[in-house]
């Protein structure tokens, strides 16, 4: 993508905060070294996005192995041991390798542009955070080839499955997760430092676009919970290698403690994967409704409320471990409480569209699908939040349906919407409308064919993470598998859209969308390598 950005030599601005190689006045390194050493937020953003796309396809292939095995009852294609590795790796790669880096990539590209900053606050650190990721995930993928195979204990890696009974490669899994975690933490520090310190003069916090706001809050969540994840996997490492008994009942430890610690990280983590999506959708819906976002302040407060509440609900993943009644009730009610700020957001998006003059460009299609289908996931979440009902639903395909609705047509569709929205800014060309419409409709159909039947198979009792199933689930699984392959294949269209868009297409002006108002639309399309070296004049708008 960015290889088409005309490198604009601006030696007179060599003192900008964007220190490092590129600004040192010498010729920029070319070829591979340029990408290896870049400290430019746009190039690093592009790297993140390309990395995420690659991981998305690798994780997708693993998911299709799972779906192919589940196409019919019985064992056909893979051994149960390998099946377990596929479900585990799919989850890990999609969460830590696809969704999170995609959001960080979007933040790298768009946060400086949206707040009128010349670059991220810490450009070299930025480079380092990115390059940790390929190392982490090559390591993670390589565990599949190690003796005993890769991680096979589910993306939630519950002890003692991941300690006492784990394959020998588990220490490498822990190391790779540490690296990915450090990358996220450094990314979060950078984003916070950028947003708090580099805003254009005159831009107050309550003037920031919502994508910036949601990312700021997400970054705080990352700072708060990634160290807890690091702590948990360090304890695992010590249990495995140094004979401690944090999670080992034989030595006086407690496996349930693992689940508490994991979900204390894990639940905020699921919000880390959705809050930036809220921000993207809050940018797109007003643009294509040609109206101001309805309830800007309430959006900010709702995001903050969700973030704070997300620390108080973790045990809704543990209703069946034997919590005392008061705890069941506490976590049930706090979980349901989260639906309130979430509902405020959905209400505001709908209210923004109300009486707007709406047009259905590709980003808007994805954003609308997000609102509808994310809400479906929210409703199944509410069902799961009812503790006595969760005794029945837990660890069935109903949970799988729930979190795929919030993550695929939720988080992923928001990322796709963001990509379609900002591609003109990145490449200078509009993405092909016809191709993107095919991509959109095939994705929507594929996603719903895949995940909607899982509600039914789950309610009927089909357990998750098992390579075989009882005959009565055969029809639902057949539909899910066909849908999965349709969805997977249609993502190739997205790659085609990107390639064509980088190569050419209808030229986009600076303000690529008629209703778009934020600062990024004041710089030329494609955005030159260096922007806002002198801060823009920012005119606060009424919200």
């Amino acid at each position: 993508m960015a290889s088409h950005l005309p490198p604009k030599p601006t030696p007179q601005h060599s003192t900008t905060t964007a220190g490092g190689m590129a600004e040192s006045g010498h010729a920029r390194p070319r070829g591979l070294m340029r990408w290896l050493l870049t400290t430019n937020h746009k190039e690093i953003g592009t790297l993140y996005l390309l990395f995420s796309l690659t991981m998305f396809f690798i994780g997708g292939i693993f998911a299709l192995v799972v779906r192919a095995e589940l196409f019919q009852p019985g064992l056909q294609l893979v051994q149960p041991e390998f099946f377990n590795q596929m479900t585990t790796m799919h989850g890990l790669i999609m969460v830590f390798g696809a969704i999170m880096p995609a959001f960080v990539g979007l933040a790298n590209w768009m946060v400086p542009l949206q707040i009128g900053a010349p670059d991220m606050a810490l450009p070299r650190l930025n480079n380092f955070s990115f390059w940790l990721l390929p190392v982490a995930f090559l390591l993670l993928l390589s565990t599949l080839l190690m003796p005993g195979g890769g991680p096979n204990f589910g993306w939630t890696f519950y002890a003692p499955l991941s300690t006492t009974y784990a394959p020998p490669s588990t220490s490498f899994f822990i190391l790779s997760l540490h690296l990915a975690g450090i990358s996220s933490i450094l990314g979060a520090i950078n984003i916070i430092a950028t947003i708090l310190n580099l805003r254009a003069p005159g831009m107050r916090m309550m003037d920031m676009p919502l994508f910036v706001w949601t990312w700021l809050i997400t970054a705080f969540l990352l700072i708060a919970v990634m160290p807890v994840l690091a702590g948990v996997i360090t304890m695992m490492l010590m249990d495995i290698n140094f004979g401690t008994s944090f999670f080992n009942a034989a030595g006086g430890g407690d496996p349930v403690l693992f689940q508490h610690l994991f979900w204390f990280f894990g639940h905020p983590e699921v919000y880390i994967m959705i809050l930036p999506a809220f921000g993207i959708v809050s940018a797109i819906i007003p643009t294509f409704s040609r109206k101001r976002l309805f309830g800007y302040a309430s959006m900010v407060y709702a995001t903050a409320a969700i973030a704070i509440l997300s620390f108080m609900v973790w045990a809704h993943h543990m209703f069946i471990v034997g919590l005392p009644l008061v705890a069941e009730l506490f976590f049930m009610y706090t979980t349901m409480l989260i639906a309130v700020p979430t509902g405020v957001k959905v209400f505001n998006w709908v209210a923004t569209m109300f009486r707007g003059s709406i047009s259905f460009e590709p980003p808007m299609l994805f954003a609308l699908a997000f609102v509808v289908q994310f809400t479906v996931g929210g409703f199944s979440g509410l069902m799961l939040a009812i503790a006595p009902a969760d005794f029945q639903y837990h660890d069935t395909y109903f949970v799988v349906a729930h979190f795929h609705y919030v993550l695929v047509p939720g988080a992923l569709f928001a990322i796709l919407a963001g990509a379609y929205y900002w591609l003109p800014k990145w490449t200078g060309h509009y993405p092909s409308v016809r191709l993107s419409q095919w991509h959109f409709w095939l994705s929507v159909i594929g996603v719903n064919l895949t995940f909607f039947p899982m509600h039914f198979s789950g309610l009927a009792g089909m357990p998750r993470r098992i390579p075989d199933y009882a005959l009565q689930f055969a029809d639902f699984n057949l539909v899910s598998s066909l849908g999965g392959f349709l969805f997977g294949a249609s993502q190739l269209l997205f790659v085609l859209v990107i390639i064509k868009c980088v190569r050419g297409g209808e030229k986009a002006p600076a303000k690529a969308w008629e209703g778009a108002e934020d600062l990024e639309w004041s710089v030329p399309s494609p955005a030159p390598l260096h922007t806002f070296e002198t801060p823009p004049t920012f005119q606060p708008r009424e919200h």
Binding site: I223, V228, A230, F246, G251, V256
Partner: protein, 198 residues
């Protein structure tokens, strides 16, 4: 404000933000580890995880509550391929709160080597664990058995009268775990003060 001032304050601000986030990071990492003892303390106080005291507790002298009966069930199980067998002489007894009771467990090593193991208790409902007092238990230490050896050991316990009235059945599960000899603080029969020969 001039551009130059802006940048100076910007850079100082960045440094301040980074320092603060690093402090929070270190704090949260420490917090994760602090949660382990906190969790144990919390569970000890509330009995939430169904663990019983790891040391012998004295009998509480109190009158037996003859007005109600509680069923106590015993479940034993092995784990992790340990070639031991654990059996209890009564699977279920009925008693009054306040009463002192004695039950015998038999360990047998069916393997062909001397091994160490430990029986780890768990009580459910977990609320009962605060009211279960063990005067004597084989679970306070590891046991060591030679191949084919058998060991009969008592559990002496009391359910105190303040056991919540809604608890009618208490289940006590013992799971046998292998112990690596390196990390064992073996105290073979020393702990089993009562009824060694019974």
């Amino acid at each position: 404000m001039s551009r130059r001032d802006d940048q100076a304050t910007g850079r100082a601000g960045v440094r301040r933000t980074v320092t603060r986030t690093l402090v929070v990071l270190a704090g949260m990492f420490a917090f994760a580890f602090a949660l382990v003892p906190l969790y144990d303390v919390f569970c000890d106080l509330t009995g939430l995880n169904g663990k019983t005291s790891a040391r012998a507790q004295p009998l509480v002298e109190q009158e037996v509550d003859a007005s109600r009966m509680v069923t106590v069930q015993f479940i034993t199980r092995g784990s992790q391929g340990l070639p031991w067998h654990l059996e209890v002489n009564t699977r279920q007894i009925r008693l009054h709160p306040g009463q002192r009771e004695e039950v015998f467990f038999t360990f047998r090593n069916n393997g062909d080597a001397t091994t160490l193991a430990r029986a780890v208790p768990s009580v459910s409902p977990s609320a009962a664990s605060l009211h279960l007092r063990k005067l004597t238990c084989f679970c306070f230490q590891e046991q060591q058995l030679a191949a084919g050896e058998t060991l009969k050991a008592p559990l002496v316990f009391q359910l105190t009268r303040d056991l919540p009235a809604d608890i009618k059945t208490v289940t006590l599960v013992y799971t046998l775990y292998p112990v690596q000899s390196a990390q064992a603080e073996v105290a073979r029969r020393e702990s089993i003060t009562e009824g060694d020969s019974a």
